[in-house]
Symmetry: C2
Subunit: 331 residues, 2 copies
């Protein structure tokens, strides 16, 4: 018989469908073969020499000479510069599409990826996330910032060149409000941060843990929404991603490299998304919000049931998935 588990953070129920359960290997090769990429592709707008093909550069490392990381405006932005105007008419609510939409090009090498980079280079990417997160929040029109990566066509990108996106929206998404509300109720009930409690419980049980170091815990959630859905939690209570310290940046780089390498080897370079879920810098002292990073390999498709109910059917057992990922060896 399957089991339903409540994802305590999102309050979404997940059907852990052990009747339909697949072995980890069954999730491999669920997509068509990814063609071998060259280190340089003259047609790629993110490759060196094609800098003129991207919109305004907003940041680069190093500042002079050949770059390792570039931040540019998105060529097809979902949100742009302009005047923020809210409109309310009857029950209708709208806002002009102002905000920030930028691309963080993570390497000058076309076929590089976080799973094969040096740790210092990954740390530089995380440091860039922090800088751009802070910068985006300086815009008074921006109320919420999402940093996310789409890797592979099944995850919503057609550009192979390694990159991450940042979107600063002029409104607060309801999903965020609901997560905060649920964390607030937990805090009011127990006097404790829900994510701190989850951290303690996951470390104590150990069965879903993938990587445990001084500053971070990588694990598959008890109620993972889909196969190999993975969370990276900072151990230090902190509401805001940009409060991350230099030591923590180095450690997060290690966690990211490790899990993405294991996915690459163990699941045959799956399409995936990752997202940093954080409050605003202004909320730094908040006792019940706790930022984290969520990784979703796109191994299965959400269908009518998921769309219609907001519940999930997960055809893998989180404990078995964790066991498999722990067994994948990387350097």
């Amino acid at each position: 018989m399957s089991e339903l588990r409540l994802n305590q953070v999102t309050r979404e129920w997940v059907i852990i469908a052990s009747e339909r359960a697949k072995r980890p290997i069954d999730f491999m090769n669920s997509r068509s073969e990814r063609p071998q990429s060259p280190p340089f592709l003259s047609s790629c707008p993110f490759c060196p020499g094609n800098e003129h093909r991207t919109p305004a550069e907003r940041f680069r490392i190093p500042a002079d000479g050949g770059w390792k990381i570039r931040v540019v405006s998105n060529k097809y932005p979902a949100l742009t510069d302009g005047e923020k105007k809210r409109a309310a008419e009857g029950f209708r609510r709208s806002v002009t599409g102002v905000g920030i939409h930028e691309v963080i090009i993570e390497s000058s090498i076309h076929n590089m990826s976080i799973s094969s980079m040096e740790q210092a280079d990954v740390a530089e990417i995380v440091r860039t996330y922090k800088r751009r997160f802070l910068q985006a929040h300086k815009d008074p029109r921006v109320e919420h910032v999402i940093i996310f990566k789409n890797h592979g066509e099944g995850a919503g990108t057609t550009l192979d060149h390694p990159h991450t996106q940042l979107i600063g929206t002029p409104v607060v998404p309801v999903q965020f409000r609901e997560r905060v509300q649920s964390a607030m109720h937990y805090f009011d009930d127990t006097g404790e941060c829900l994510l701190c409690a989850i951290l303690r419980k996951e470390i104590e049980e150990g069965v879903r843990v993938l990587n445990d170091t001084e500053h971070f815990l990588t694990f598959i959630p008890y109620a993972a929404l889909s196969p190999f859905h993975t969370w990276i939690f900072p151990k230090r209570h902190s509401a805001v991603f940009s409060s991350i310290t230099e030591d923590e940046i180095t450690d997060l780089a290690f966690h990211l490299m490790t899990i993405l390498s294991k996915f690459y080897r163990g699941l045959d370079d799956p399409d995936f998304n990752y997202v940093i879920k954080s409050s605003r810098p202004e909320d730094d002292g908040n006792e019940y919000c706790h930022w984290y990073l969520s990784i979703v390999p796109r191994l299965t498709k959400a269908a009518g049931f998921e769309l219609g109910s907001g519940m999930y059917i997960n055809t893998s057992l989180p404990e078995k998935s964790a066991e498999f990922i722990r067994s994948v060896k990387v350097e």
Copy 2:
């Protein structure tokens, strides 16, 4: 500049990205060619003669002889029969995976579809939905019932034979609770059902309306979450799908056939999901809940931004999409 619109029913913000806007024709052929299906396929478990390949039959029309509609248990059920046991340990919540998971086989003809059926046959399918919805709610373990269709691989099915699924879950999904809460607040504020207000406004404006008859309105929502996202609302206030009358069944069949035929012709047989969103039969007298049917053509992919924020980027303008669909001629 793009515009953000609030979907009043789900409270999700949608970025209507007119900067990225595509023409309706750009959404066509976004999938690989669907192979031509024969009217009978000996390897299909839903084709006549293969009745022994499906689990227990729960219902059929007609009762004797060659069937037109069959309802069977799902061969790989997400939920099964058994004892309902809830567990709570610390912040953890789980429930045994009991419930109902059945398949409504809509025709004995393998390559039939709602868009090419006779209206009386579609009405019979809707009538079967109603019967199975009521039957599922008789199970005291079931707290919520979702009726949904996955059409095409991009919508989560690999079975071509026309069918719908019904899942009865032993818990109430948080998405449903949030929709109800939002409708309740609107009712408390205004003394009116939110969906009744939306109906009136959409009819008054007309620009997003696709089909307007005595009992139903088919339209593209003001804040459609994705291209050609479509709602069918019953005009009579009613919290529960199963309160649908015979006249309404006939009319809903007409709306379903019409919109699916238009999608088939206008968007080249897109993958799609549809879902009936309804309260329980016990809530029939509720003043602020209003059942409806939601159709989501799967023309774009949700990526990291959508996963991470619960906001949506819609690269089509609802008013333009509606204009296009109205222009598609069907018999």
